[in-house]
């Protein structure tokens, strides 16, 4: 346990992530500067590549484009069916799982009344997988997601990330984990109202860097944030405050914020819950695309069957357990 912790800590406290571990498949955020040109560009109109399999681990994740903004409106055309995806591949090696839970229990106490929410959740998320968790309101989906994102600790059970147990890490390590390895988006976007879109996206980078490092790499980091915003289709709204953005635009900004530090895992809590069908579909298409183009692992909570149907795999949370 202690060497596990040490590894995470060592990994997490590196200012730049060189990602020597092939499993990570994440190119360093900055290594000799961000590629501004020449790198493969992200476009939803290009052919949909199959989700990266564990075998493709050594293939580096494409960089975010610097010049070409993503055209999302055209991407809503044909959501692929879950069956078409190679989600059924069951890797034998345990380390191929990006995320795994072992018998998660969580209950809330209100005085003497105990409200059991999760009762032995067993969940496995492969690398590069797009997983949807559905369930009734109050079934504990958000609770589970918070446990996965180390925002909360389970009563019992374990959460493993990249083969390391993360649910019992000390707070600073969990902070670093959330900052750089796990991105999160929410139903209500949760952008900071005082900051404009660009600054909102910069927040994780500001958290990751101290004042001086941030200042010395200010230009680079701003470019990076602008690039990510551009890739989610918000390149023209950098200076807008959240209240000047539509719901869909806010969610895009939130996605950009979640992705700016190039996490391995994106946790999405009802990302379309507050959006109309069409806008929601655009967001899902964006997530789908990120998943396919960059091999981003996504765990999405929703209670919309149609939305869930576009994921690689759908699991159902019923009475505190996962039903396949």
């Amino acid at each position: 346990m202690s060497d596990e912790l040490e590894r995470i800590l060592r990994q997490a406290s590196r200012p730049q992530r060189p990602a020597p571990d092939p499993r990570l498949r994440v190119p360093p955020l900055v290594k000799g500067g961000l590629p501004l040109d020449g790198g493969p560009t992200l476009s939803l109109e290009t052919d949909v590549k199959p989700a990266a399999s564990p075998a493709a681990g050594s293939v580096p994740k494409p960089h975010f484009p610097a010049s070409k903004p993503v055209e999302l409106s055209a991407a809503v055309s044909s959501p692929p069916t879950p069956a078409a995806r190679p989600s059924q591949v069951q890797p034998a090696d345990a380390t191929a799982y990006l995320l795994r839970t072992v018998g998660l229990y969580k209950s809330y106490r209100k005085g003497s009344i105990v409200i059991p929410v999760l009762m032995g959740v067993e969940l496995t998320v492969r690398e590069g997988e797009f997983l949807a968790i559905v369930g009734q309101s109050g079934s504990g989906k958000s609770t589970l997601l918070h446990l996965l994102g180390t925002l909360d600790a389970p009563d019992r059970g374990e959460v493993h990330f990249q083969g390391h147990r993360i649910d019992n890490l000390p707070a600073p390590s969990r902070d670093i984990l959330r900052n750089r390895h796990i991105g999160m988006i929410f139903q209500f976007y949760h952008l900071l109202p005082e900051l404009n879109a660009l600054e909102n996206v910069l927040v994780p980078l500001m958290i990751a860097n101290g004042v001086w490092t941030f200042f010395s790499r200010r230009k680079q980091l701003r470019n990076r944030a602008a690039e990510v915003l551009q890739s989610v289709g918000l390149g023209h709204r950098l200076k807008h405050k959240p209240r000047e953005l539509s719901g869909g635009e806010m969610q895009r900004a939130a996605i950009a914020r979640a992705l700016v530090a190039q996490p391995e895992l994106l946790l999405a809590d009802e990302p379309t819950g507050n959006l109309d069908k069409r806008t929601g579909q655009e967001i899902i298409a964006l997530l789908r695309n990120l998943n396919q183009r960059q091999g981003l692992t996504i765990v999405m909570v929703t209670h919309d069957q149609y939305i869930a149907g576009q994921a690689d795999r759908v699991v159902r949370l019923v009475e505190g357990r996962i039903e396949q």
Binding site: H146, G149, L151, D152, A171, P172, D175, I176, L177, R178, N179, R180, M184, F186, H190, L191, L192, P193, E194, L195, E199, V203, P204, M206, I207, A208, N209, G210, V211, F214, F215, R257
Partner: protein
């Protein structure tokens, strides 16, 4: 970085925070002004006290004093010679002063101080409080021809004019002497008329003392040196019955010089004192003894340098007897310590010793009450005082520093300043509680954002940092603006006081009450930095609790918060 960005944004978007900035600002500004004014008053007061008093004094407990000043000075030098710059003996004795003004004798209770004109200046800055510029340079007990300051030289050009001082000096003395002589003559002529044709052969020498000396006789019970007797006519108090004694004198032809008549008169008594050309022993009197300040702040003088006063003091006999003598005011003493200005009369020490009988007839050595000591720069008065206390029996001698003498006053000012500071810091503390309340509100309002920041990996310390730097920023801005405001207020304090006086119709700073014409203010950089630092500390302290609360917020609960 996000800390700074967010706290800056919170500062800019939440104007309620300005309320706490304003209260911090006002607190800091008030503290600066109050401290500057109090420091100004204290400095002014200390300067005055120190200017009047020597660094250190060794006093005899007995009013009759210690026998040999030189011997004592030698002893003092033996004890602490390396720290002593200069010494001067003084005789201090309580007394009464009488002077004549517009037909009335005015009586004052005074402290008569005999000083040595040559060495006094080495010991204390007494001279700098004198009115005549030449006396400030070199103290002299001789009446000056004129040239007394028309304005308070310490106050500068804003001090109101003292037009009466233009006459002071010999010219005033001559004029007064002439007027009195004339008056006397008129009086005699009147009496002559009243007495009609009384026999001119009525004995001229029947009364050795003319009737006009009656006033002096009333109080001068002590034996007076005859040659110092001067006889002025008090217009109304003089006898109304015919005075035959003066008939012969009054019968002198009117064309004759009045001064001549005067000298004749004196000559009759065997003296040749001529008030128009001669002065009595010089005396420097406190300005408060002979003047008052009117409603406009103008000083009105009851008498001037050149006028004569009578001093009554006890001699060294047991029981003491009252001695009286006549002195001529040669200058005014204005230390602006009303306590001193309305009490002190300085006369030459030798004359005072003579009058009191303090001079040993065989050796000619005079007794003194106290020895004033000036210390070398850097010497600690308290330390030398303790040495003197050890060397001179406290049963007979009392050694004290200038601070000791006015300890009550100085301590009172110090306590006042301290209390004011505490009260004003309470104002800033109130501002601190305002910050506390506002911050709690902001933390509650920002609960969800705090949850988001934590979800994005912000450590608890970082979240705390947002609010701590917010508090720091409020403190910095508040005390910064307060500092500037305070310094500006101090700089223009007199203009502001004038304006307020004009606005309210009554002077804020009444020169009748204070001896200064303007409010003294000293900005002490140390005090100012303490105030600013204190305000910032209070602001930060007030933000600790809300910040800590924000840091402790559970991310999930914060995210669920609506």
């Amino acid at each position: 970085m996000y800390k700074l960005l967010l706290c800056w944004r919170y500062l800019r978007t939440r104007y309620i925070a300005l309320a706490s900035i304003v209260s911090v600002m006002l607190g800091v500004a008030t503290l600066i002004v109050v401290n500057a004014v109090m420091a100004g008053f204290r400095r002014e007061m200390e300067d005055r006290i120190h200017g009047v008093l020597a660094d250190l004094s060794l006093e005899s407990r007995s009013l009759n004093g210690m026998p040999d000043a030189d011997w004592h000075m030698e002893q003092i030098r033996k004890v602490a010679g390396d720290q002593i710059e200069a010494m001067t003996p003084t005789v201090v004795v309580p007394g009464m002063m009488f002077f004549f003004c517009r037909g009335n004798w005015i009586t004052r209770e005074v402290i008569v101080i005999g000083i040595d004109a040559d060495t006094q200046a080495d010991v204390s800055a007494l001279a700098q409080y004198l009115n005549h510029p030449d006396n400030r340079r070199k103290l002299s007990f001789d009446l000056r021809e004129g040239g007394y300051d028309l304005r308070d030289h310490q106050a500068g050009p804003e001090a109101p004019l003292r037009p009466q001082m233009a006459e002071a000096g010999w010219q005033h003395r001559r004029r007064t002497a002439a007027a009195r002589a004339l008056e006397e003559r008129l009086m005699r002529m009147e009496r002559q008329l009243q007495s009609g044709y009384s026999a001119p052969n009525h004995a001229d020498h029947q009364a050795p003392l003319p009737r006009t000396g009656a006033v002096e006789d009333n109080w001068g019970e002590a034996p007076q040196p005859a040659e110092r007797q001067v006889h002025y006519v008090a217009p109304s108090s003089s006898a109304t019955e015919p005075d035959f004694a003066n008939l012969g004198l009054a019968a002198t032809p009117p064309t004759q010089d009045p001064f001549a008549s005067r000298s004749n008169h004196d000559a009759q008594q065997g003296t040749t004192f001529d008030p128009a050309s001669q002065q009595h022993t010089g005396a420097i009197v406190g300005i408060g003894l002979i003047s008052y300040r009117d409603a406009e702040g103008m000083d009105q003088f009851l008498c001037l340098p050149g006028d004569d006063v009578k001093l009554v003091i006890p001699n060294v006999a047991m029981p003491p007897q009252a001695i009286s003598d006549e002195f001529t005011i040669v200058d005014l003493y204005e230390s602006k310590m009303s306590e001193y200005d309305a009490k002190f009369v300085f006369v030459p020490i030798r004359r005072l010793q003579e009058l009191r009988g303090m001079i040993d007839p065989t050796t000619g050595v005079g007794m003194v009450n106290s020895i004033q000591i000036k210390l070398k720069a850097g010497a600690d008065p308290a330390q030398v005082r303790d040495k003197l206390r050890a060397a001179f029996s406290p049963m007979l001698y009392h050694a004290s520093t200038w601070r000791d003498k006015q300890n009550a006053l100085l301590a009172a000012v110090q306590v006042e300043t301290a209390i004011l500071n505490v009260l004003l810091f309470l104002i800033i503390a109130v501002a601190g509680f305002g910050i506390l309340a506002i911050f709690f509100m902001i933390v509650v309002e920002k609960t969800r954002d705090i949850g988001v920041l934590k979800a994005l990996g912000a450590p608890a310390g970082g979240v705390m940092g947002i609010f701590l730097s917010y508090g720091l920023l409020l403190g910095l801005v508040g005390s910064g603006v307060g500092l500037v405001l305070g310094l500006v207020l101090v700089k223009y304090i007199n203009q502001i006081a004038d304006f307020l006086g004009w606005l309210t119709g009554r002077p804020v700073f009444d020169p009748q009450v204070y001896y200064f014409y303007k409010i003294p203010a000293i900005v002490n950089p140390w005090t100012v930095s303490w105030i600013v630092a204190g305000a910032i500390v209070i602001a930060v302290t007030a933000s600790v609790l809300p910040a800590w609360r924000a840091a402790r917020l559970h991310p999930v609960e914060a995210l669920r918060y609506e």
